[in-house]
Symmetry: C2
Subunit: 314 residues, 2 copies
């Protein structure tokens, strides 16, 4: 399997490169002084549709058969993956059905519609979302693409870390937020095969620490309560990404809500970029664990920049 | 004089290039669709200390004599030029005195102090600012550097447009905000000598339209009342930059306050960058004059990103 991961990621890099942005890597002298380390921010907020999710969506959709492409795709997401599938499908001339919870932010629904996708509303529960998606698969014959628990999606997300390592091959570690597990799983494949002893670290809100608990228990754990300002991370690992995470991820660090908000403000203030709260979770983890990162070169995946400007947490 | 401008700008480019960032140029398909033109945003919000002012400060300070450098420099500014002189002076090991009005935002005073400069408080009037600066010149022998009405500052500011034109030599026009006139004067020198029939356009808040009125009257005009959300632009042209502006600037477009705020939000939302209100004035002018810019390639100078995140206008 090992060499398959490596070859699969290389194939993915070639497959998606003309359909996604090779996003810039930013640094800040002030932030480096603050954390006592050298941070390289891979800015997926500048990715098409504003988040790394575009990479996985493009990779998954472009590998469908001609017949599958003719019928279309379906996913469920209230966030960035909805927009990613909608845009990737439109760019490839494919029909997209997006199941969104009825309480999804209006601005996100508008964005999905703007990309020409058909929205199907569901109750705001995981069960209802999946039920509606299953119904579209049944009725329309559309292919379901899961936002994070899909091998092609995972590989697509890994291309961000691959690009980062091509520019900086001496990183001690790469740190990503952990939500559904697609980004960290893809990143860990990239770090393992294309880094130089580069560790993959996860950063997760302490209020929704399912991934950390899953790693410790050796079995996928769920959140039964709690919430987080990092709204992109309110989900759990899956059967496809969890084994990859177990194999390649060094550790997952937990951070408090206020630490996320403070880190988000630091990114806006000093990097001068608009990022969503989830993107600030890795910097929060670095700030909370100074000894671990001291004097190290650390890659930080900035996951996205789709945020409601009228409703900022600071 | 013509060839002097050209040679002086080339000399300036070489003089400052290792002390300033060659900032990225961003584009947005969504914004281009919205305005019906191709916009190239030269992102000086990513400049050192967060604004184009660093370019002029570096150019002015690095041309001081050894004796002048030994004594130090003084300027008056409540905004970006204060930070620019403070940082440029520190980087070159020179003492900086910054006269700031007593009502300047605390965060800006902290930033100036953080760069190691000495702050002198004045009453919040132009007269009092100049008086305090004159006193420092008198008492300390420091060299006064005006934020915008100084030829070396003007040339420094022009290096942003020069870099933009080196990457995109077919721009129809470059548009900048107009405050004290340093940026637009420097930009117009760059556009005239290094563009291919590239026009320089100014964008100014309608509530503080002194530069537009100055161009029309052929004589520097002042604002006696009014204010603007674009706080960097609450100042007037000077005797050194005005003749350059008269010679090389095509026109100045006026925009309403709400247009500035709307344009600022568009930049944050679609370019995913943090910019100050002044930086949004050019995009507001493009949006307000669609026929003028239709299907044109237009350079837009994003002046800076130093904004109070706790006090956004939208």
């Amino acid at each position: 399997m090992a060499n398959e991961y490596k070859q699969d990621l290389l194939d993915t890099v070639l497959r998606v490169k003309d359909q996604v942005h090779q996003t810039p890597i930013l640094t800040s002298t002030l932030i480096n002084t603050m954390v006592g380390a050298q941070l390289y921010f891979k800015c997926e907020n500048f990715q098409k549709m504003g988040a790394f999710k575009m990479r996985g969506a493009v990779n998954a959709i472009s590998q469908l058969s001609a017949k599958q492409k003719e019928v279309g795709v379906v996913t469920h997401s209230s966030g960035n993956f909805a927009q990613a599938i909608a845009l990737a499908a439109r760019n490839l001339g494919i029909k997209a059905y997006i199941v969104m919870p009825s309480n999804a932010p209006k601005v996100k629904m508008e964005a999905v519609k703007g990309y020409g996708a058909t929205i199907i509303l569901s109750e705001p529960t995981n069960a209802s979302r999946q039920l509606e998606a299953d119904r579209i698969v049944e009725e329309k014959g559309a292919t379901f693409i899961h936002p994070s628990n899909n091998y092609n999606v995972i590989l697509g997300q890994g291309t961000a870390a691959y690009e980062l390592l091509k520019k900086h091959n001496d990183l001690h570690s790469i740190i990503t937020p952990v939500g559904g597990g697609g980004l960290i799983a893809g990143t860990s494949i990239a770090a393992n095969y294309f880094g130089n002893n580069c560790k993959t670290i996860g950063a997760e809100p302490a209020t929704m620490d399912d991934a950390k608990r899953s790693l410790v228990a050796g079995k996928i754990q769920y959140n039964t309560s709690g919430t987080t300002v990092a709204d992109g991370l309110r989900t759990h690992l899956g059967a496809i990404n969890f084994p990859i995470i177990q194999k390649f991820v060094e550790d997952i660090f937990l951070v408090e809500e206020q630490q996320i908000i403070d880190a988000m403000k630091i990114i806006w203030q000093y990097l001068k970029i608009v990022v969503e709260p989830s993107s600030a979770v890795p910097l929060a983890a670095i700030l909370a664990n100074p000894a671990y990162f001291r004097n190290k070169k650390v890659g930080v995946i900035i996951s996205g920049g789709n945020v409601d400007l009228a409703n900022l947490p600071f």
